[in-house]
Structures are given as C-alpha cells and as structure tokens.
C-alpha cells in the first residue's frame, strides 16, 4: 500500500507574459493524506492544471513548498524532478496523449523504458496494467482503432504501469460521454481503493466529483472551500491497512 502524502504550503505561481506578472496561485495550502482521492474543482483558468503540474514536478513554484512523500520538489533541479516523476507519478490527461504510431501495449510500455528492466519483465508489467484497465484483448490495437473510453483506459494503464504512488488526472472524463465517464471513474476508484494510490483529479463535472472522498475548490489563487463526500468516507482506503 502506498504511504505517500502530499503537502503544499504557501504555494505561489506567477507567470510572466510581456514582462507582466500574471499571478495564478497566491499562497495556496493543501494537504492530501496518503491513499486519499481528492477532487479539484474551479472555474476555467483558475490554475487547476498549474497546480497539478506543480505537484507532478513538471513546473516549479514561484514560492512556497511542495512536498510529495519525502520529495521536496522546490529543492530539486529539473533533471532530478524528471527522474523522480518517472517513478512516483502517473499522469492522466483529458486528451489521453497516446502515441498514434504505437500499439496500446507499446504505449503502456513507454514509461518502463526508463527503468532497468528486462524485456520480458516489461511485457509482464504491461500485460498486468492492461488487465487492470480491462483491455487485455486490445493490446495490439493502435489508438485510432480504439474508442475514446478505451484510449483513456490505455492512458491509465500507462500511468499505473510503473506502480506510482500518486496519480494526477487532469479532466480525465472531459472528452467522454456520461456512461464511459462513469467507467473511467470506477477504474480510478479501484486504483484508489484496491491499490492505495493517492489521487488528485481535476474535473468540472459534479457527478465525477462524487467519486472522490473530498472536493477542494480553487478560486482566485487559493482553495476557498472544501467538502467531504459522505458516500465515500475519508481514509476508508487507508484504514484497510
């Protein structure tokens, strides 16, 4: 079981455009417990993706501290963050970002190429990941031979194949219909409850939000309110261990 928590303290993020400061996050605090499934909501342009990128070490904060497990991201170089990210974080995007020229299995295998692992070990991991997302029979399909929902499943398999502690999902159902969205959200739930992944998911959809244990709202650079989901008590997953 994962034991990785996330802690953001006084996080500031300012973009510069034509020498003009564009403040996006202004002293944001957020704590996510190990094994928690948190939903992040907020108006478009409020900085949700920015926040995800900071936690995933894709970008660095202008101020404050970002800690994921025992990794203090604000103290790490870009090179260190890249290496850390490949082992500890799985990203899921709204547009899946699959490589069109590779098969589902080859897409899933990509992150493993950065590990020292034999080809057969990789194949085994890929097989398992595709099994978890229920796409074992689509391993040799190219992305254009898959439906949107199936593509997102492949993307999820790619995110979990390295067995990361944290999954960061940026509007993973934003491009899917209601039924398919539900299946994807069930899958994320499974990753959280069965595999203990700490999940932070951005969404606009209140129904999607109902899958998390807690919803935080981002507005004007800070988290202005949060609500717990009574249907999914906080820490339920963590209590299993």
């Amino acid at each position: 079981m994962s034991t990785v928590d996330i802690e953001l303290r006084k996080v500031r993020k300012v973009y510069f455009k034509d020498r003009l400061e564009i403040p996006v996050l202004e002293g944001l605090d957020l704590t996510i417990a190990a094994g928690e499934f948190v939903v992040l909501m907020g108006p478009s342009g409020s900085g949700k993706s920015t926040l995800l990128h900071l936690i995933g070490g894709l970008d660095s904060a202008t101020g404050g501290s970002v800690r994921v497990g025992d990794a203090h991201l604000e103290k790490m170089s870009e090179r260190e963050r890249t290496a850390w990210r490949s082992r500890h974080v799985g990203f899921i995007f709204q547009m899946y970002h699959l490589v069109p020229v590779l098969t589902a299995a080859q897409n899933v295998e990509l992150p493993l190429l950065l590990f020292s692992m034999s080809s057969s070990q990789r194949k085994e991991r890929v097989r398992t990941a595709l099994e978890v997302v229920g796409l074992s029979d689509r391993a040799d399909h190219r992305p254009n031979q898959l439906s949107g929902g199936q593509e997102q499943r492949v993307a999820i398999a790619r995110a979990i194949v390295t067995d990361p502690d944290v999954i960061l999902a940026d509007e993973p159902t934003g491009d899917l219909d209601a039924k398919t969205s539900e299946e994807i959200l069930e899958l994320l739930n499974l990753l959280n409850s069965e595999f203990g992944k700490t999940i932070l998911m951005v969404t606009h959809d209140p129904r999607a939000a109902s899958h998390g244990q807690r919803t935080v709202h981002l507005d004007k650079g800070v988290l202005d309110r949060e609500e717990l989901n009574p249907a999914r008590p906080r820490g339920a997953a963590a209590m299993v261990s």
């Binding site: 993706s49 920015t50 894709l58 890249t82 970002h97 020229v101 080859q106």
Partner: protein, 394 residues
C-alpha cells in the same frame, strides 16, 4: 533506455509527403556523390600507378602532351649523350624508348557501338618493355616482322574489335590491317587504355618521320632535375618531365571537373541539410504535445533530442541507401566504365567505377552527417521546450 526505434521508424511514415520529398533530395545527393567518389577514386588509382619516379618523358620543347609533340630523329639521337640515366648492361648504350603516339577512333562497347572515342595507339620498340616495367604482356607480344598489336586490358574491355584474333585498321596506307595478338596489363594505369604496336611499322602506316616522345630511366641515385637540365640545356633542345608530373598535368582538366562536381555535391548536401531541418521543424511543431507527454512520463530533454536526431538520421539513411541503389542501377544501365580525356590529348583513359563497400560507407557517412546537422536546430528547440506550455496546446 532511449525511445524505441519502431517509434521513430513508424513516425517517418506519418508524414508521407514530406518524408518522400526529403528522401528524394537525399537520394539525389547521395547518388551524385557516390558516382563522383567512385570516379575520383578510380582516377586516383590510375594516376597513382603512373607515378614511376625513375621514368622521364621527353617531348618537343613547348609540347604539352605526346599527341602534339614531334621529335626529329637527329634531335632524338642526341639523347645518347645524356649522363646519369640507365644504360643497357650489354652494350653500355643509353636505354631510351622512342615512341610514337597516334589516335584511332573506335566504337564504344558500353552503348553498343553507337558512339566512338579516340584510343591511343603507341608505337614502341622492344626496349619499351624495359623502360616501362609495369607493362606485363598476357600472352605474346607483337612481332617486329608482322603488322600486329597488343591491347591494354582497359581498352579491350571498353572498345569493340580488340579481342585476340580481331583485326583493326591503323594508318592511311593500303596495308593497314593490324592483328590483335595479345593483351597487356599496366597495373590499372593509363597505359592500360592503349594499343601498342611496333614503332617502325606504325610510323610507316601513318607516314610519320618523327617520334612523339622518348622515355628514359634514371640511373640509381641520380637526380631527375639534373637530367632534365641536360635535356633542356643548350646541347639538346627538348623538354623533359617525370612521369608523375606528366600525368598530373594530363589529368588537370579532370581534376577541375571533379572539383566542380564536389562543389555541386557540397551545395546539394547543404540543400539536404535544409530539407532535413525543414522536415524536423514540422515534426517538432506537429508532435509538440506528444513530446511533452514523453517528458511528462519521465524522458529527459537529452533523450528527446537524441530521439529526434535518430529520426532524422533514419530518414537520411533511407535516402542514402536509395541513393546508393540508384547509383548502382545507373552504373548497371550505362556501364561502369568512364572515359577521361587528357587535358590536351583527347585520347581516352578508361575507368571502372565500382561501388565498393568503402565507397558505400563513405556515402552513408555523408548522409549521417547531413542528418545530424539538419536535425540539430529543431531537436534543440524541442529539447528546450516548456513541457507545461506544450501540454496546454490545443
């Protein structure tokens, strides 16, 4: 571990039009390059053979080649006074080979005899084989009593009617039919493109009274400059040069051609670099989100850079291999022999252009360099891109 090669390979086929166009540019560069390289290597080889440092070629002063040189017999006879040159051990006389050079127009084999080219015919005495030790008759040589010739291997391979037993017409008189009685090799040097016969007989057939050249060998340890000084001095009014100097000047025109050809290859290579760069810029632009995704899952900017360079080199190598095949097919179609005209002689020197493994390696080497240089700027741009910015692109 880097990105898998299948990833790059398959991406080449995503942008079919750009890929095909780029490949075509590179194919044309490489085929021209391989051809020029093959030509220049054969030329270099041929000239390296004609580089006997102990051999002097004597011409009429002011003559630029054997074909426009005429040495009167009494002037020629004065060469017997020259010192420090090789002598006949038995007689103690200066060893000298008087030679006459004429041309005969013969049908080329490579186009089925549709066109003719000039072949050098050299009249020599038997002493010539001592002056030119690299001439090796294969079989017997011409008889001094009959109208017979022997033919250099390169000439025999390139021109019709030069097989043993064939008869060719040389000269102007009535009795001008010469029989080919043998072939000879000259280590691939220029003389291998010649026809040799007995000097008095050929002079008679061509109504000549003067020689074209005289050839001498240096005595051991003697200085070529000193002997040339004797020949060009007041006592003898002739001009002399070493064999190396002679063939360097004969091939000067060809070297200018080669220089221009290489310049062309260089300009074409530059065009190929730009073609690759242009392709890779569109790759980087078109795949920026995909590349950002790869950075997101942990590939480093160095790995992205390397991957794009590999992709460009793959593209270039496809063009390079096609170029080698095109060059090879061209040589098959038109024959792999090439004529070289001496700067002033207008006789042909035969070459074989061969697609040796070394030549292919050099051509592919050029292509790899073109690919790497072409990929560098776009790949650096991709490596320096902001991951989060690229991820946000619509």
């Amino acid at each position: 571990m880097a990105l898998p090669l299948t990833y790059h390979w398959r991406n080449l086929f995503v942008r079919k039009t750009t890929t095909v166009l780029t490949v075509l540019v590179i194919t044309s560069v490489v085929s021209v390059f391989a051809y020029m390289l093959g030509f220049s290597e054969s030329l270099q080889h041929s000239l390296s053979v004609a580089r006997d440092p102990h051999k002097l070629i004597v011409l009429k002063s002011g003559a630029t080649a054997e074909s426009n040189s005429a040495i009167p017999v009494d002037e020629y006879n004065k060469l017997s006074q020259v010192t420090n040159v090789a002598r006949d051990e038995a007689t103690g006389q200066v060893l000298v080979s008087p030679e006459m050079m004429v041309q005969v127009s013969l049908p080329r084999l490579r186009d089925g005899g549709r066109t003719n080219a000039n072949v050098a015919v050299r009249g020599v005495t038997l002493d010539a084989f001592r002056i030119h030790p690299n001439i090796r008759p294969l079989g017997r040589i011409f008889s001094t009593a009959e109208r017979e010739v022997i033919v250099g291997l390169a000439a025999a391979q390139q021109f019709a009617g030069l097989q043993i037993g064939d008869t060719i017409n040389l000269g102007y008189g009535a009795d001008r039919a010469y029989k080919v009685v043998g072939h000879f090799s000259a280590d691939g040097g220029p003389m291998e493109s010649e026809i040799w016969g007995y000097l008095p007989s050929l002079m008679n057939s061509y109504n000549r009274t003067m020689y074209s050249s005289a050839n001498l060998r240096l005595a051991d340890g003697s200085d070529a400059r000193q002997i040339i000084g004797q020949i060009e001095g007041p006592a003898i009014q002739l001009a002399a040069q070493t064999e190396e100097e002679y063939w360097e000047s004969q091939s000067r025109l060809m070297k200018v051609y080669l220089f221009v050809a290489y310049l062309l290859v260089a300009i074409m290579s530059l065009a190929a670099v730009f073609a690759i760069a242009n392709t890779m810029f569109s790759v980087v632009a078109g795949r920026s989100r995909e590349l950002a995704m790869l950075r997101t899952i942990g590939f480093s900017s160095a790995q992205i850079l390397l991957g794009l360079v590999i992709e460009a080199v793959m593209l270039a190598l496809v063009g390079g291999m096609l170029g080698c095949v095109a060059c090879w097919a061209w040589l098959q179609a038109v024959g792999n022999t090439k004529d070289m005209f001496g700067a002033t002689t207008f006789t042909t020197m035969a070459f074989k252009i061969q697609m040796t493994p070394l030549l292919i390696a050099k051509a592919l080497g050029l292509v790899v360099v073109v690919g790497v240089i072409g990929a560098l700027v776009p790949a650096l741009r991709a490596a320096r891109m902001q991951v989060v910015t690229a991820l946000r692109e619509p």
